[in-house]
Amino acid sequence: MTDPRTPTDGGQPPTGDEQPATDDKQPATDDEQPPAGDEQPQTDRPTVLVPLEVLEGESLPAGTTELLANAHVVLLGYHVLPEQTATEQAREQFGETAMSKLGEFAGALEAVGATAETRLVFTHDKQTTVDRLIYEYDCLAVLVPNSAERVESVLVAVRGTVGVDRIARLVAGLFAGTEIAVTLYHVLGEGETDEDAETLLNGVRADLVERGMDADAVEILIEETETPVDAISGRGEAHDAVIMGETDPSVTTFVFGMPAEQVAERFLGPVLVVQRERPEATDASAE
């Protein structure tokens, strides 16, 4: 999708933007060419999707504003309707209320320096909506909105080299130049040595430093365990937020749920789920 407008600097009006357009802060070329992570300017704000069930009384959890102060936030208000109800019907009745709430939340985010866009969707299926918006905005991460009292340290689970670049973009984008400390965490896989893991995490640290993080603010933690989900949620308790990667859907995830969801349920704090690189969206629409 091509945004015809020129990039602007200030925060966007919370509700006035009716164009389902991509982020104004993205470089214009991002829309035409497959984005290559390493070509992104390092000051680029990471785009984070924050889904909120506004009409069910879900509000912006405490700590979210601190966590996302440097992000470009796509604030998705959604309302899930049973299949027998026309979505139009709900929009007519609840649209205005929900919009004004979303506007408030966007205002709170903009007050701490984030940029925010709001989208309100009436849907029969939450996942369809979330997936569509991840594509549309090429979101780097999705927030599982739990609250945190304060945000001082963040646990970043690094699984392997795949997608590590996107994790680095997110972490540096959010926390470079802030007081927030980061712990890079890796669970040893089968046949993997401590040295391998150290090489991996040191590589990430170097990347983060190159992207503007303070080297002292990045720690490294390696552990050997059979149950990564438990380990991440357990370690997370010593921190205020968790950042982890998305998992490919499989039978296991179908039965037990996505690891990120499981972690969010046990850890109870905010979890940022870094999304896989999505196939280029503009190709699909260029019919």
């Binding site: 999708m1 027998q84 649209g95």
Partner: protein
């Protein structure tokens, strides 16, 4: 280049270049019409969640209950083996209407279906008659399906060898009516996937049964059966009368249009789902009557009444066959009744959104997300009508009210093609549009003429009452071309 503001395109902008399908910015998996309708107008956007399979399941699931599991006995009694011709006539009429409906639905993919097309294309008065008529037509149809469901539930007792003092069809139908209404009030989850599963199971059972029965009827398994005279003693007249009666079996295709607002890629999926579901059920109906009338004489079939298919299956495959058809009949009439109750509540929503009835009727319950008033307005009269147990009258009145709508849909297509308003830019154009729509309108109205006088009387009374209500309550509402 500046993209046109989607929210302004359909109504306010007189510039034809900024028309509906003009160069709106493409989105992933975009559909030009869907983009315009769903565009955020400052109050949120709408997610489309029903694909082609879902659309087909709605169409087939709503229709297949009546034609196969309720009508064969009644139809064969009236028209003999030529009842299969009656069903074929119904299919042709339905197709003639389905094509214009598809065109209109892709021009106006909004919830509300036929009512929406007619009120926007022809004006408020016909819209009000059709809108209120559609609500009541669906109420009659649901009551009819419920009596059918009750008959099959009663059959369960018969098969189990439990003797009941009274015919349980009506009381059971009423009980199911109450149950379904309450269920839909509390927001049933996954109704779509349930509906899909029911349709698949039904199609499998029916295909097996009809292939076996068909081969048997053709004499493949030995015992050749004596073919009956194809036409009944009265000639063509009973066949046409039966076509009018069994047309209730085709009411479902327009239900696909009532959920048009939820269908993904509506310009492709809407026409496909409507036309394909009519074709699929039409083939099944004709085959069913052929098999049923080969198994028994028509008179004998008529004596079995609503559950004649159970006896047909018993004749071919014995007890297991009877059980399979009882189960299939329960599923089919259940899904038809459920779909019609939900459609009736959507019909109430559509007219109340346009202020033809008080808007309180479409209030949603925030906790369950369901329109409780509209569901009550649908469920209440359905239960009352089901209690009458007048299967043929219920079916014919339902067909009457739907046929009026179908005829007017065709008229609306002709009118819109002539007027060519700016907002009218269907992405599917009905081939030979004017001819098909003209034939569809004539056929719809002609079919009404073959109904029983009582059904015509009740149907006409409903239409007059709807018009009276419009004059009394909504005379100042202007809907033509209003989006």
């Amino acid at each position: 280049m500046d993209a046109p503001d989607p929210s302004a395109a359909p109504d306010a902008d007189p510039d034809p270049d900024a028309g509906v399908t003009a160069d709106s910015p493409p989105a992933p998996g975009s559909d030009p019409i869907a983009d315009v309708v769903d565009a955020d107008t400052g109050e949120g956007e709408l997610e489309r969640t029903i694909g082609l399979t879902g659309g087909l399941a709605i169409g087939i699931g709503t229709m297949i209950g009546a034609g196969i599991f309720v009508f064969p006995g009644l139809a064969a009694e009236n028209a003999g083996p030529a009842a299969s011709l009656s069903f074929a006539i119904g299919a042709v009429v339905a197709l003639l209407v389905a094509l214009p409906t598809s065109e209109l639905a892709t021009a106006m993919p909004r919830s509300g279906g036929g009512y929406f097309f007619i009120s926007r294309g022809l004006g408020t008065a016909p819209g009000a008659i059709v809108g209120l008529g559609l609500w009541l037509g669906l109420v009659f149809a649901s009551a009819f399906y419920l009596v059918g469901l009750g008959s099959y539930a009663g059959q369960v007792f018969l098969e189990a060898g439990i003797a009941l003092p009274v015919n349980p069809a009506v009381p059971l139908g009423v009980a199911f009516g109450v149950g379904l209404t309450v269920l839909s009030l509390f927001g049933t989850e996954n109704t779509a996937s349930l509906q899909n599963a029911i349709v698949v199971v039904l199609l499998i059972i029916l295909t097996l049964f009809l292939s076996y029965g068909g081969l048997d009827a053709l004499g493949v398994f030995g015992a050749e059966r004596t073919p009956e005279r194809f036409f009944p003693p009265g000639g063509l007249l009973p066949v046409l009368q039966t076509a009018a009666l069994v047309f209730t079996s085709y009411l479902g295709f327009a239900q696909v249009a009532t959920v048009a607002g939820d269908i993904k890629e509506p310009s492709r999926n809407l026409p496909l789902a409507m036309v394909a579901s009519v074709l699929v059920v039409g083939v099944f109906y004709v085959a069913t009557i052929f098999v049923a009338t080969s198994a028994f004489g028509s008179a004998r079939l008529g004596e079995f009444g609503e559950t004649a298919m159970v006896e047909v299956a018993r004749e071919f495959v014995g007890f297991p066959g009877a059980i399979a058809i009882v189960v299939a009949g329960l599923l089919a009439t259940f899904s038809s009744a459920n779909a019609s109750i939900l459609s009736a509540s959507r019909a109430v929503y559509a007219v109340s959104r346009d202020d033809l009835i008080p808007t309180a009727a479409s209030r949603l319950n925030l906790q369950y997300g369901t329109p409780h008033v509209a569901l009550g307005l649908a469920g209440g009269p359905i239960v009352v009508l089901a209690a009458t147990g007048q299967v043929e009258l219920l079916a014919e009145v339902a067909s009457f009210l739907h046929l009026v709508m179908y005829g007017l849909i065709c008229v609306a297509l002709i009118q819109l093609r002539r007027e060519q308003p700016d907002w009218y830019a269907p992405s599917f154009r009905c081939p030979a549009g004017l001819a098909v729509a003209g034939a569809g309108a004539l056929a719809s109205f002609a079919l009404i003429a073959f109904m029983q006088p009582a059904s015509i009387g009740v149907g006409a009374a409903v239409m007059i009452a709807s018009y009276g209500w419009y004059r009394y309550y909504a005379a100042d509402v202007e809907l033509k071309g209003d989006f």
